[in-house]
Subunit: 443 residues, 2 copies
C-alpha cells in the first residue's frame, strides 16, 4: 500500500464497537477537541524527540493522564475478569417481537464488535426451547444405549478421563439470516447474521464412545441425541456423521461450557445446523432409522416452491458476511478503511472470498487470515479507499468443495419465497454519501 | 486402543477442574450412591431399548431430573454470560506471601482446569506494577515518535481502521516457574506454571505503523514502548522484532482487551518474555540504542554463576508441563487416564513432546493437537493405564529449531542457583500409591 494510510493527519474513523449514538457523540466531541489539539500537537510532534511528548501531553484532555498518576486495581481484584465498563454495549441482544416468550427464543452475537475468529463464550448466541437449565455436574449422567453391546451410564468424571480432542468449529442456527427471506431490513449484522459463533471445543469423539459401547456395525444407521432441559429436545444424527467428527463436548474456549451453551455436556455436529448440536446432552440412542421427532418434523424444515417440505437439511452451506463496515455504522470521513468479515462452510475449508464495493458488478479477492480451518469461521480482510460516493459492499465465499455462495435471487429461484431456514445468500450493505451504512436487498 | 477404556463398568476419575476437597466430597458421595445406582442400572441397561431409560432414570438422584421438569433461564438473561456457579473455584489466584502488595503482584492462571489452547480472557494471569488502570478509550492516545519522518498521535478509532491481523500467541512472564529455582514445592500447576496464557490477538502489525511514520531505516535499532499506567513501565524492543511479528493489539479472543490485560491497547512481542508486551500502551519511540530503563536493568535479569548479570533475555525457550494429572489432584482408581498438558516455544512451532511415567528413564512420544502454531501453546495428549504403583510423570518438549527442554540439573549447571527468571526445566509430578499427585524435584 503506497498511499499513506493516515495521510499525514488523523482521520476520524468508524467505531465498529460503538453504537450509532456513541459514534455521533464521539464525532461531536472530537470535532472540537481534536482539531485544536492536533493543530497544536502537529507542530510539537514535528520537532520529535522526548520533549515532544511533554508538549503533546499538554494537549491531551485534562482527564487523559489521570490513570498515569494513580494506582490501579490490585491483581486478583476479580478471580474471574470481565470486560471494561466502556464496552458495556457489546452484548447479546434479543430481537424485539421475534418470539412470544424469551424462554423459547434467540439472543444474537454482536458480530459488528468482534475480531478474529474466536467468539467470547459470554457473547455466544443463545437459542433455547425451554430456557437454559443450570445443571449440577455431579448429578448429570449421559446414557448410551440402543443397538449396542454394552450400554453405559457415564458421569462427567468418567467422560473427562477419556481420550479427548480440541477443535475450532462454528455453530450456526439453521434459522440464521431467516428474517432476510421476508425482506425485513433488520438494522445490524448482529440481527442478520448473529446466530453464529465459533469456539475451540474440547471433548470426546462420539466414535470413541460408540466403539466403547460396541455399537451394532451392521444395523446402526442413526443416533438420537436428547437434551436434559425442559424441552428434552431430540435430534436424529446419521451414523456417518457420528463416526466422522461429531464430539461430546464439555470444554469451550479453554473452560467448561457455559450454562446457556449446554453445561456440563453438549453434542457438537460440526458443519450441521445448530439444533443438531444438542445442549445439556443426557442420552444417545443408537437405532436403525430416523426418529422424526417433533423438532425435526414440524420445525427446521424448508417449504419448497412445489409445496413439499425438505426435511433433514444437515449441512450449513458456504456463506459469508462483511462485519465492518456494516449496517448501523457510519463512515465519518473519506479515506482508507479495512473491510473485514467472516466466511464459513459446513463442508470444510473456505477456499476464497471475493469482495465487491459496487453491488456485485466487480469482484476482487480478499486476504484470508491463517489458519483456515475446516468447518470454522475464517476472517477475511480487504483494503479499501472510500472516495465518498455511494457504495454497495458485498462478500462472496467459495469453499474447498467448489460451492459458491449464491445471490438472494439465485437462492429464491430454487427455494421459493416461503422459507425460514438455511439462507446463505450474499449480503449487501449500502453506504450513502454521508457515510451511513444500511441493510438493503438488491438481488 | 484395544483395551476397553471403561472396562465394562464406571470408574471413578480425577476431577481436573475440582479442588482436592471437592474431589474427596465427591468420592464420599459417590461410593454410596453410585455403587447402589449402578448395581441396579447395570441390569436395567443390559436390556437396552428405550425402556432402559425409564429404569435408569429411576436410579438417578431425586434432584437430577429437576431441570428436566422446569423452565430454565430466558435468553438474554445476561447480555454477557458467565460460567456456571458450579465452576466458581476455577479462578485466578494470588500466591500468598509472594509479594508485599497486590498492586505490584501476580495472579496465576488455573491451568489444571483448562482445556485446549485458548485461555479464557477472564482467567488470563495478571502481572501489574502499579495496579490495572481502567482507561477511557475515547481519551487514550498512542504517540509514535523519535527517529521518524512523520510522528503521529493516534486515537483508538484511527488504529482500528488500519490493516489488521489476528494471531494466536502465548504470553509468558519471564518469572514463570521462578519459585522452582528455590526448590519451593508450590502445591499446584497453577502456581508452578500459571504465568502463561494463550489468546487470539487482533491488532496492527508494528511494521505497518513504522512504515506509516517513515522510520529512519539507517539508524533505527530499537523501539521503546511505554505504558499509560502509574508505573509508566518501559521496555526496549530490538527493531528486528518490531519489523517481524510485533503487534499493537486491541482485540483478545474476539473482543476488546480486558482492563487487566491492557485495555484499550497493548504491545504484543510474540515469543518474548511477557514484560516486553507493554500493557496500556501510550508511546513508541524509535531510537538507535537500548534505553536500559529501570525494569530492564534492575529486574528481569539473570544472575549467572560467575557473578555477572545476563540482561535483555528476549526469548522464552522451549518448555512444557503436564496439566492433568498434576499436583493437588488425586487418581481415585487404577485404569485408563489421558495424560495431557501444554508445550510452547518462543522460537516457533513445537515439533515433538515426549512423556515419561518413570521420572525420565523411558520416554514415549505424545500426540499433538492440530493446528500447531508458532509461538502458541500446543496441547499434547498421551494414553496411560495406571497400574496403581508409584509413578513420576514428566514431559519434554522439542521445538522446530531443535531446542530441547532441559532437566533442572542441566539448567542449573549453566545458570547456577540464584536465578529467578527464565526457568524452562522439565517438571516432575509424583503419583503415590494412594493416587495423590504432588510436586517434586528430582533433577
Amino acid at each position: 500500500m503506497k498511499q499513506p494510510l493516515t495521510q499525514g493527519r488523523i482521520q476520524l474513523a468508524p467505531e465498529n464497537h460503538l453504537s450509532a449514538e456513541q459514534i455521533q457523540a464521539a464525532k461531536r466531541a472530537r470535532r472540537g477537541f481534536m482539531q485544536q489539539a492536533l493543530a497544536a500537537a502537529g507542530g510539537a510532534l514535528a520537532a520529535a524527540g522526548s520533549s515532544a511528548l511533554a508538549k503533546a501531553s499538554s494537549n491531551m484532555p485534562p482527564d487523559a493522564a489521570a490513570w498515569t498518576r494513580a494506582l490501579g486495581a490490585p491483581v486478583g481484584a476479580s478471580g474471574y475478569g470481565m470486560p471494561s465498563k466502556y464496552e458495556a454495549n457489546v452484548q447479546r441482544r434479543q430481537s424485539p417481537g421475534l418470539t412470544r416468550t424469551p424462554l423459547s427464543s434467540v439472543s444474537f452475537t454482536p458480530l459488528q464488535s468482534l475480531f478474529g475468529i474466536i467468539t467470547p463464550a459470554g457473547l455466544h448466541f443463545e437459542r433455547h426451547h425451554s430456557g437454559a437449565p443450570e445443571i449440577d455436574p455431579e448429578q448429570h449422567r449421559l446414557m448410551i444405549h440402543g443397538l449396542v453391546k454394552r450400554p453405559l451410564l457415564l458421569t462427567m468424571s468418567d467422560l473427562m478421563r477419556l481420550p479427548s480432542v480440541s477443535r475450532i468449529h462454528f455453530i450456526e442456527c439453521g434459522a440464521n439470516s431467516g428474517m432476510e427471506w421476508a425482506n425485513v431490513a433488520v438494522p445490524t449484522v448482529q440481527y442478520t447474521h448473529g446466530m453464529i459463533a465459533c469456539s475451540e471445543f474440547t471433548g470426546v469423539l462420539l466414535s470413541t464412545l460408540l466403539e466403547e459401547v460396541g455399537y451394532d456395525k451392521k444395523n446402526a444407521k442413526f443416533i438420537l441425541a436428547e437434551g436434559a432441559d425442559g424441552s428434552a429436545l431430540t435430534r436424529t444424527i446419521p451414523i456417518e456423521f457420528a463416526l466422522d467428527d461429531v464430539m461430546v463436548v464439555y470444554g469451550q474456549n479453554g473452560e467448561m461450557l457455559r450454562p446457556e451453551n449446554g453445561y456440563p455436556l453438549r453434542l457438537l455436529v460440526p458443519g450441521v445446523q445448530g439444533v443438531s448440536s444438542v445442549k445439556w446432552l443426557r442420552r444417545l440412542e443408537v437405532g436403525d432409522k430416523p426418529w422424526n421427532t417433533r423438532e425435526e418434523s414440524l420445525h427446521y424444515v424448508d417449504l419448497l416452491p412445489d409445496g413439499t417440505h425438505r426435511q433433514y437439511t444437515w449441512i450449513q452451506e458456504v456463506k459469508s458476511v462483511i462485519t465492518s463496515p456494516s449496517a448501523g455504522q457510519k463512515l465519518l470521513d473519506k479515506g482508507y478503511y479495512e473491510i473485514t468479515g467472516l466466511a464459513w462452510s459446513g463442508r470444510g475449508r473456505i477456499k476464497r472470498v471475493d469482495v465487491s464495493t459496487d453491488g456485485g458488478r466487480n469482484w476482487r479477492t480478499a486476504k484470508l487470515q491463517e489458519p483456515v480451518l475446516p468447518k470454522a469461521l475464517t476472517r477475511f480482510r480487504f483494503d479499501w479507499n472510500w472516495d465518498g460516493s455511494p457504495a454497495l459492499l458485498e462478500s462472496r465465499a467459495i469453499d474447498e468443495t467448489g460451492h459458491v455462495q449464491p445471490t438472494m435471487a439465485q437462492l429464491r429461484a430454487v427455494r421459493g419465497t416461503r422459507s425460514i431456514y438455511h439462507n446463505n445468500a450474499i449480503k449487501t450493505w449500502r453506504i450513502a454519501r454521508d457515510g451511513e451504512v444500511t441493510n438493503v436487498q438488491i438481488g
